[in-house]
C-alpha cells in the first residue's frame, strides 16, 4: 500500500515552511525558505508578497523530492500563516499593488490613537472584540487608502483585492487571476477588525467606518472544510484547512476542550486558551478570537494574550549588547548567578501588549546597583518572559470560569530549561512540552487531515499528543509573591514614558 501524507504550509513572519506529516502525526520532511524583511522607515515592516509566493513554488517540490514522495500521495493541504499582515493585489494581473504591511508595523499609531478617543474602544470591542491597535489589519487598509493615490477608487471598482496571507496563498494556489478562490478563514478574519465575532460575517458598520468596500473582501469560510483543489504547485490536491498560526498551534497542541491552553514562545509569545463555544468577552485586557470552526459545527472561541517581546529580548541581548554569542547561551550566563540580584527588565520596546495595551510604555531596567553583573541581567531577561506570561495567565483566570491546570508550551524558547522551570515556578502550574515541537505546522496538518478524512476525529489526534518534558513548580510561595510584586512595580515604571510629541 502506498503511504499517504498531509502537507502543511506555514507562511510565517520570517520564512515559509512546507512540512509533510505521516498518519501518526510524525514529521517526515521539511523545506524552508526565508523572505526579505523591508524596513523603509522606523517602525515600518513590509514583505514582498510575490517573493513569498515564489518561495512557496520552490519549497513544495523541494520537500517532495527530498524523500521521493509523489504529489499523488498527498491527501490534503493545510495552511497556517502569520496573522494580521495586509496584502492588496490586482485582480486581473495578480500582482501585489504595494508591499504587504506586516503585523509588527506601527505606522498606524496616530490613527489608532484617534480611534481610541473617537469613536472609542467600545465601538470596536462590541463588534469584533478587539481594541484599536496597530496590530490589526483594518487601520492599515485605511492608511493605504489615505496614502496611495487612486487605491480606494480601484478597490470600489473591484479591481483590487484584499486578504491576509492565507487568502493570497489560496488565491494563487487555486489559479490566481485565472479563477483563483478569494477566501479567508474565520480565525484570520477575526484579526482584521472587520469581522463581527458573533456572526462570522463582515460587519457592515465596521466596513463603513473604515471605508472598506465589500467588493475587495474575501469570502469568510470555516477554518476546516474542503475549499477546492490546487491548480498550481500541487495540482489536484484539495486544500482543506486554513488557520492563523497561533490558532494552528492551539490545534496542534490538541487543546480541543474548554480551559486547555498553550503558549508559543518565539520572537513574541502568544498564550491562547480554548473557551469552547462560549464567546468570552475579556474584561482584563485579553483578545477574544476564533479558535477554529469545523465546517458547519458551532464556532469554537478562544481568549488570547499576545506578548510582543520575549525571544526578541534575548536576540537584543545577543545582537545589540553582545553579551552572548548565541541565544541558548543566555541560560549558561544566567546560571552563573543564583538569582536576579534585585534587577528586573521590562521589555516594552514598542509599548506593551496584553494585558496592558499601553503604547506609551518603553523598556526599563530597574534595580541596578554596582552589585549587578551580566549574569543577573541574563536572569532578568529570562524572568521577563516568565512574568509576562504570569500576567496573561492571571488575566485568563480572571476572565474565564475555567482555571488553568497546566500550560502546554512550544516554540524555540522551550529548549531553555531554566526558563521553563522558572515558568512553572511563577505560574505555580506544571509546564508541559509536547514531542512534536512544530505545533503550528502540525496544527495545520491536523486540521487539513481531519477535513479530508485522513484522521477520523479529534480523539485520534489527541492520542497522537505525547509529553516530551514536564517542569513542576518548585518555588517558595512567599518568594513568588514578593518577586511578582517587584515585577509589577517595574512595569509601573515603564508606563507613560512616551509623551504625545517630542521637541520640534
Amino acid at each position: 500500500m502506498v503511504e499517504r501524507y498531509v502537507m502543511s504550509i506555514d507562511q510565517g513572519t520570517t520564512s515559509t515552511r512546507c512540512i509533510l506529516f505521516d498518519h501518526r502525526g510524525r514529521l517526515v520532511t521539511v523545506a524552508q525558505r526565508e523572505h526579505r524583511q523591508f524596513f523603509p522607515q522606523p517602525g515600518w515592516v513590509e514583505h514582498d508578497a510575490s517573493e513569498i509566493w515564489r518561495n512557496l513554488e520552490r519549497i513544495v517540490p523541494e520537500a517532495l523530492s527530498g524523500v521521493g514522495i509523489d504529489v499523488g500521495q498527498i491527501t490534503a493541504i493545510g495552511i497556517a500563516n502569520q496573522r494580521e499582515t495586509t496584502v492588496l493585489w490586482d485582480r486581473r494581473t495578480g500582482a501585489p499593488v504595494c508591499r504587504a504591511i506586516v503585523w509588527q508595523d506601527v505606522r498606524t499609531a496616530q490613527l489608532v490613537e484617534d480611534l481610541g478617543r473617537s469613536p472609542g474602544d467600545a465601538f470596536f470591542l462590541d463588534r469584533c472584540c478587539l481594541p484599536p491597535s496597530t496590530y490589526f489589519s483594518a487601520p492599515r487598509l485605511r492608511w493605504l487608502f489615505d496614502h496611495v493615490d487612486g487605491l480606494e477608487q480601484r478597490a470600489r471598482d473591484g479591481e483590487v483585492l484584499f486578504g491576509t496571507v492565507e487568502s493570497w496563498v489560496i488565491w494563487n494556489l487555486t489559479g490566481g487571476a485565472d479563477g483563483g478562490l478569494h477566501i479567508t478563514d474565520a480565525t484570520n478574519a477575526s484579526r482584521t477588525m472587520l469581522m463581527n465575532i458573533r456572526t462570522l460575517t463582515w460587519d457592515p458598520e465596521l466596513l463603513e467606518f473604515f471605508g472598506v468596500p465589500s467588493a475587495m473582501l474575501p469570502e469568510i469560510r470555516p477554518s476546516i472544510e474542503t475549499y477546492g483543489q490546487a491548480r498550481s504547485v500541487l495540482p489536484g490536491v484539495p486544500i482543506t484547512a486554513a488557520l492563523g498560526d497561533q490558532q494552528a498551534a492551539l490545534f496542534g497542541q490538541t487543546c480541543f476542550s474548554p480551559g486547555e491552553a498553550k503558549c508559543t514562545y518565539g520572537t513574541g509569545s502568544f498564550l491562547v486558551m480554548n473557551t469552547g463555544t462560549d464567546l468570552v468577552r475579556s474584561r482584563h485586557g485579553l483578545l477574544t478570537t476564533v479558535a477554529y470552526k469545523i465546517a458547519d459545527q458551532p464556532t469554537v472561541y478562544a481568549l488570547e494574550g499576545p506578548i510582543a517581546v520575549t525571544g526578541s529580548l534575548v536576540q537584543w541581548f545577543r545582537d545589540r549588547l553582545g553579551l552572548i554569542s548565541s541565544a541558548p547561551e543566555i541560560e549558561t550566563l544566567a546560571l552563573t548567578v543564583e538569582d536576579n540580584g534585585g534587577c528586573y527588565i521590562v521589555p516594552a520596546f514598542s509599548g506593551l501588549f496584553a494585558p496592558h495595551w499601553r503604547s506609551d510604555a518603553r523598556g526599563v531596567i530597574v534595580g541596578l546597583t554596582s552589585y549587578i553583573t551580566k549574569g543577573h541581567l541574563a536572569r532578568a531577561v529570562l524572568e521577563a518572559t516568565g512574568w509576562q506570561t504570569r500576567e496573561v495567565v492571571d488575566a485568563m483566570n480572571a476572565d474565564s470560569a475555567l482555571a488553568m491546570k497546566e500550560l502546554k508550551v512550544d516554540g524555540g524558547m522551550t529548549s531553555d530549561n531554566l526558563l521553563m522551570q522558572f515558568l512553572a515556578d511563577v505560574l505555580d502550574l506544571p509546564v508541559v512540552r509536547p514531542l512534536v515541537a512544530e505545533t503550528v505546522s502540525l496544527g495545520a496538518a491536523y486540521a487539513a487531515g481531519l477535513a479530508a478524512g485522513f484522521w477520523p476525529d479529534l480523539e485520534v489526534l489527541r492520542r497522537n499528543w505525547h509529553r516530551a518534558a514536564q517542569w513542576m513548580p518548585d518555588m517558595d510561595p512567599e518568594r513568588r509573591e514578593w518577586e511578582y510584586e517587584c515585577w509589577k512595580r517595574a512595569v509601573e515604571r515603564s508606563l507613560g514614558w512616551i509623551r504625545p510629541s517630542g521637541p520640534a
Binding site: 514529521l27 543566555i330 549558561t332 522551550t414 529548549s415 514531542l435 505525547h466 509529553r467 516530551a468 514536564q470
Partner: protein
Amino acid sequence: MAGPVQSIERAAAILRLLAGGPRRLGLGEVASSLGLAKGTAHGILRTLQHVDFVEQDEATGKYQLGAALLHLGTSYLDVNELRSRSINWADALAARSGEAVRLGTPLEGKVLVVHHVFRPDDTLQTLDVGTLLPLHACSLGKVLLAFGAEPVEPLVDAGLEEYTRHTLVRSEDLSRALVEVRELGWGAEVQEMAMGEAGVAAPIRGHGGLVVGAIGVSGPVERICDTKGRPQPALITLLREAARAISRDLGAARW
C-alpha cells in the same frame, strides 16, 4: 610513520606570527613574512577562521587570533546550545523508538545529562536534566570515554564503582569495551547501572569530527535488547541517524 604534514606546520607558523604582536596582519603581510604564496596563505587563514582560531576584521580585512584559542582547554560548545541544536532530532528519535532519549556531555569525571526527552507513553516521568551519571556504567559515558571526550586514566585510578554484578569494574574489561565502542561507532550498557535497564548511545561530533557529546536511548532491557541480550539493530539504526543528523547540524562534515 609519515613525515610532518606541511599545511599543519604552516598553520602553526601563521598562528605564531599572529600571536607575536598586538597588531592585526593583512593577507600580504602574512604571506610575505612566511614566504608563502598568497593563495596558500589565504586557504590556511580561511580554514583557521572556519574553526574560530583566527578572526578577520570586517572593516580592514586584517587577521588576528580568534577567541576560541583562549578557551582551548574548556569545552567549546555550550551545553545549552547543544540542547537547542539537538531538540528536534532528539524528539524524533523518541517518537520513532518509543523510548526515552538523553544527551550527555562530560563534566568533572561524570556524564552531565544536558537534555532528556520522556518516553512517549505519557506515564509519570521526572525530568533529569542536570543529573550526573557514572562514565563507566552508562552507554553515554562509555561513548564519551571511547572517543576521547574524557580521559580514562583518572577514572580507573580512582577505582570503578560497582553498581550491579554486570558493571565493568576491572580496567581491562573497560578498555576492551571501549575498543569495541570505537569499532562499532556506538556503545551499549546492559544492566550495568541498574538491573533490568539497558541503553545504547552514539557520539555527537562537531567541527573536524571532535566528539562533543553523546545521545542515547534507554529503557527496560527487554525492549532495548533482543532475546540474546544484544541491542536491537533497528534501534541502533535510528540512534545513529539521529546522532549523524545532529553532528551535521553542528558542522561535522563526514558524519
